[in-house]
């Protein structure tokens, strides 16, 4: 994880921080520091090949391949496309390799440059050694939003840069253009045109001094549909293997032996779920803290017996962690006490119970509203009347007794359709009507079962009135929390319709916390 962090930092810092560090030195860069041609190289001192290779475990062949493709000084190069899935070190490797070779380059990512104009202008700014600052009103060197203008301006800027590079020593006369996250361009307005343009930029420009490198999260075959597509040279970054991941996580660890023992335990099961460094690192960092809990001295090198002890301490935590995407521990103490309890109590039954408990707070009227929305999304509107009549939907069960082969089949198809369609949408009026029904039923059921404190009849009224107050505010806050989604307006009525985004499990949980008999009201086909 440390590796990933460090590489992230260097990536961020590539161009912007080399300028940022300058800004720290002199707060007004425009006064004393005017950017020179040297700013096109990495800025910091270059690193050796060995350092480069050891910085990126598991990327040896890719780095060597990349260096070969770039070739010795002054070698012209055909366009390259580096591709591979997320967090496989594409950008970092490309940039650090250019740092190693100490070549001048321009880096723009279409993540930060989110439209053609910003992308083009950022490239030109870097080439023209222009820096946005207060004295020029943070404007770009050139205004350019069309590819045709960009080509002309780029040609001009490049020939300037190459002219000055010629006289500067040791940098060669090649400039590299690195465009990161090319796959995002696909989703731009007229993105396929821009992609087509970038892929054929080399042939359009006819300047072999510009080495074009595209970094893409998607494989090349998704670009085939673009008609201007000409194959660049491909360089593939595969997902890290388990051994690579071990090397990556072992980097920058204080106690390598202890961490290696920890990885022995966790790496294999977690690799089955995901092999992304960023995702694994978040889980591992919290798990490692747990792993170290029984230890007094973190510098100790574990022997077999201790490993076994630590393993048995960690083992119950692994399974729930595997089933969690991320662990936001808003109550660290709560987590700690839970951990302690886990040590004592038989684990499996404990989690069972824990799963039943809602892990967030909600007012009871919001809970009712949530259930009402859930019902409105799941039940057909035509059945509302029979569901919420005076008998409280109890007869629902008895309606169909006989189950023939054909009706079973029909039922299956209907179920299939329901799954395909997802939750239905409903107008606000229906939601409020159902809410009113179930809120009153919920109250009366409390009364009948006597679980809640005794209330006098006037209390009922007051309570339900309380529930009804500010109901629209509750609806909007449920919308904000994404439990409800506004799903456009109905073409006939013109009113806004809502849709419940709550899963059945959560709805049942909420209902249980209110002791509301949800299952009774849910229409099952």
């Amino acid at each position: 994880m440390a590796r990933e962090e460090s590489s992230k930092v260097t990536r961020r810092s590539t161009r912007s921080s080399s300028s940022a560090s300058v800004t720290v030195e002199n707060p007004e860069p425009n006064e004393s520091h005017s950017p020179t041609i040297d700013d096109l190289t990495f800025g910091e001192e270059s690193i050796t090949l060995d350092a480069l290779l050891s910085n990126f475990p598991g990327r040896r062949s890719q780095i060597l391949d990349f260096i070969r493709l770039i070739g010795p000084l002054d070698c012209p190069i055909l366009p390259i496309m580096v591709y591979g899935s997320a967090s496989t070190g594409k950008s970092s490797v490309v940039l650090q390799t250019l740092r190693h070779l100490n070549r001048p380059f321009v880096y723009s990512s279409s993540r930060t440059c989110y439209n053609p104009r910003i992308l083009f202008e950022s490239i030109l700014n870097q080439l023209l050694l222009h820096r946005k600052c207060s004295s020029n009103g943070y404007s770009s060197a050139k205004r350019c939003d069309k590819p045709s203008d960009f080509v002309n301006l780029l040609r001009e800027a490049l020939s300037n840069v190459i002219g000055t590079l010629d006289s500067a020593s040791g940098k060669g006369k090649m400039v590299y253009l690195v465009i990161d996250n090319v796959d995002l361009i696909k989703y731009w307005d007229k993105g396929s045109m821009i992609l087509q343009f970038l892929f054929s930029l080399y042939t359009v420009l006819k300047m072999p001094q510009l080495g074009i490198m595209l970094i893409s999260g998607l494989p090349p075959d998704v670009y085939y549909s673009n008609m201007g597509y000409t194959d660049p040279l491909l360089l593939y970054f595969p997902e890290y293997s388990e051994d690579d991941l071990r090397l990556i996580f072992l980097r920058n660890q204080a106690n390598k032996k202890l961490y290696s023992a920890f990885l022995d335990v966790v790496l294999r099961p977690f690799c089955r779920v995901t092999r992304r460094v960023e995702e694994l690192s978040t889980t591992f960092s919290s798990l490692f803290r747990k792993y170290c809990e029984p230890l007094d001295d973190l510098g100790v090198s574990p022997n077999e017996e201790m490993k076994r002890r630590l393993y048995s301490h960690l083992k119950p935590l692994i399974a729930p962690c595997l089933n969690e995407i991320f662990r936001v521990s808003s109550h660290p103490h709560d987590g700690d006490t839970r951990g302690e309890r886990r040590q004592k109590v038989n684990y499996s039954s404990e989690t069972r119970e824990e799963l039943e408990v809602l892990d967030f707070h909600m007012s009871s009227s919001a809970k009712y509203l949530l259930i009402a929305a859930f019902l409105a999304s799941r039940n057909p509107a035509t059945l509302d009347a029979s569901m919420f009549d005076s008998t409280g939907g109890m007869d629902n069960r008895k309606r169909k007794r006989k189950v023939s082969e054909k009706s079973m089949e029909k039922k299956e198809i209907a179920e299939q359709e329901a799954v395909m369609k997802g939750p239905g949408s409903f107008p606000l009026e229906r939601l409020l009507a159902i809410f009113q029904c179930i809120a009153s039923v919920g109250d009366s059921s409390f009364g009948e079962e006597g679980e809640e404190e005794e209330e006098d009849p006037t209390g009922y009224d007051r309570e339900s009135n309380n529930l009804m107050s500010d109901i629209l505010l509750q609806v909007s806050s449920l919308c904000d929390a994404n439990f409800l989604v506004k799903s456009g307006s109905c073409p006939l009525e013109g009113s806004i319709r809502y849709r419940s985004m709550v899963s059945e499990d959560l709805a049942l949980k909420v209902a249980r916390s209110l002791s509301f008999p949800l299952a009774k009201y849910l229409y099952r086909r």
Partner: protein, 417 residues
């Protein structure tokens, strides 16, 4: 050390050659019935006789249309330096009529040392161009319009093509329009009024023949004897290349390569890859370089994507495949999860994870475009309920899973049944 410098130098030289299309296509245009000679004849007669002409160069991407045209134009500029002026347009950049007129005006201004106004309107620009065409015609100067990606100009109202070709109908003007397109039906895309003004001269660019490839390889790879290389090195290098090109295994490699892609540009890319793998210590190219280049060029992105999947992601893919086999034509995340659960229930697999973890894996698959949403409608639904489709075929899935590093045996079994 003494040897490393010539090796780098030769690498540089060959790479420079590969990146220079005029160098590559020079020998291919030598013969008298090549496209180069025919094209040159037509254009030069229109220059000398002062007539108008329009030509289309058609052929697959990377077959050297633009390079041959550049050769011709370069030669003509040398031969008639005073009576040729060039306007280059690219359909990718200037498919918008307004933009194209502006660019033509800009290039004309550059050429004739006139002041170009960025603010000029479409109308002003087009009047300016027609006036310039007349002036050039009177001065017996031919304007050659090179329209790359010609088919892109045929989109929309084709005003540019119409006004260019219409201006050429007058006696005074003197211009040649050369269109380059990879669409063989490019002239069919033209409107009637444009087509009737277009002379239907077409040149077809075909993939190179065997002999041409051999001579091209020789042309690209042999080092010149008279340069500053040490003498022994040049002969050693050339000897090695000669051995290599006559080797049957090398020919096999070349044949497999050409089975997939037979244009000159792709060959250049292949050689570039091989040359960049050259061992700088020996300074010689070897058969291994070409073998490695072939394997790195023949990629199968879908299989790679499957190899990148984690076990859980493979489970989801298998579930989707099973749903497809069951003739359930459309499915979403929820129905995939149902299938996942039934698999777990009947086989008690060790890989059963919570729904949110699966959803994350699902999103990973979608990011890699192994799966995608079936339709763009239904944006209001959350991702779980939107219809999905697999982007890989069953055989690719099979092949990819078999070559996966740690695919569980049960998954392969599940895929079959």
């Amino acid at each position: 050390m003494g040897k490393e410098i010539p090796a780098e130098k030769s690498l540089n030289l060959i790479r420079e050659r590969l990146c220079d299309p005029t160098f590559v296509f020079r020998p291919l245009s030598a013969s008298s019935d090549s496209n180069y000679s025919k094209l040159k004849f037509i254009v030069s007669t229109s220059i000398t006789e002062g007539c108008n002409n329009s030509i289309l160069l058609l052929g697959p991407r990377g077959s050297g249309k633009a390079a041959v045209l550049d050769l011709v134009v370069g030669d003509l500029l040398e031969e008639y330096p005073d009576s040729v002026s060039l306007i280059r347009l690219n359909g990718l950049l200037h498919s918008d009529d307004n933009c194209a007129f502006k660019e033509i005006a800009r290039q004309l201004c550059m050429e004739h040392h006139l002041l170009f106004s960025k603010m000029a309107s479409f109308d002003e620009n087009s009047q300016f161009i027609i006036a310039m065409l007349r002036e050039c015609g009177l001065a017996h100067k031919t304007i050659i319009f090179l329209l790359d990606e010609f088919d892109m100009f045929a989109q929309g109202k084709q005003r540019l093509l119409y006004s260019l070709l219409d201006a050429m109908q007058s006696v005074t003007s003197q211009a040649v329009v050369v269109g380059i397109s990879s669409r063989l039906d490019a002239d069919q895309l033209l409107e009637k009024r444009v087509r009737s003004r277009f002379s239907h001269r077409k040149f077809l660019f075909l993939p190179p023949s065997r002999e041409e490839i051999d001579s091209l390889l020789e042309h690209l790879l042999f080092l010149p004897a008279d340069s500053s290389f040490p003498n022994g090195y040049v002969s050693q290098f050339n000897e090695k290349i000669k051995n290599l090109t006559s080797d049957a295994r090398f020919k096999d490699i070349l044949r497999t390569f050409f089975n997939a892609n037979s244009t000159v540009n792709s060959l250049l890319k292949f050689i570039f890859r091989a040359v960049s793998l050259m061992n700088l210590e020996s300074g010689l190219l070897s058969l291994e370089n070409f073998k490695a280049a072939l394997s790195s060029i023949q990629r199968q992105p879908k299989l790679e994507a499957i190899k990148d999947c984690s076990i859980l992601e493979l489970y989801l893919l298998v579930c989707m495949r099973r749903l497809e086999v069951k003739e359930q034509s459309s499915y979403n995340f929820i129905s995939v999860m149902k299938e996942y659960k039934t698999i777990h229930d009947s086989f008690q697999t060790s890989d059963y994870y919570a729904q949110n973890v699966c959803l994350r894996a699902f999103e990973h698959l979608r990011e890699r475009e192994v799966i995608c949403y079936a339709e763009n409608r239904g944006q209001s639904q959350t991702g779980e309920y939107r219809l999905m489709t697999l982007m890989i075929s069953a055989s690719e899935l099979h092949q990819g899973m078999r070559s996966h590093a740690c695919c569980p045996a049960i998954l392969l079994k599940l895929l079959d049944h």
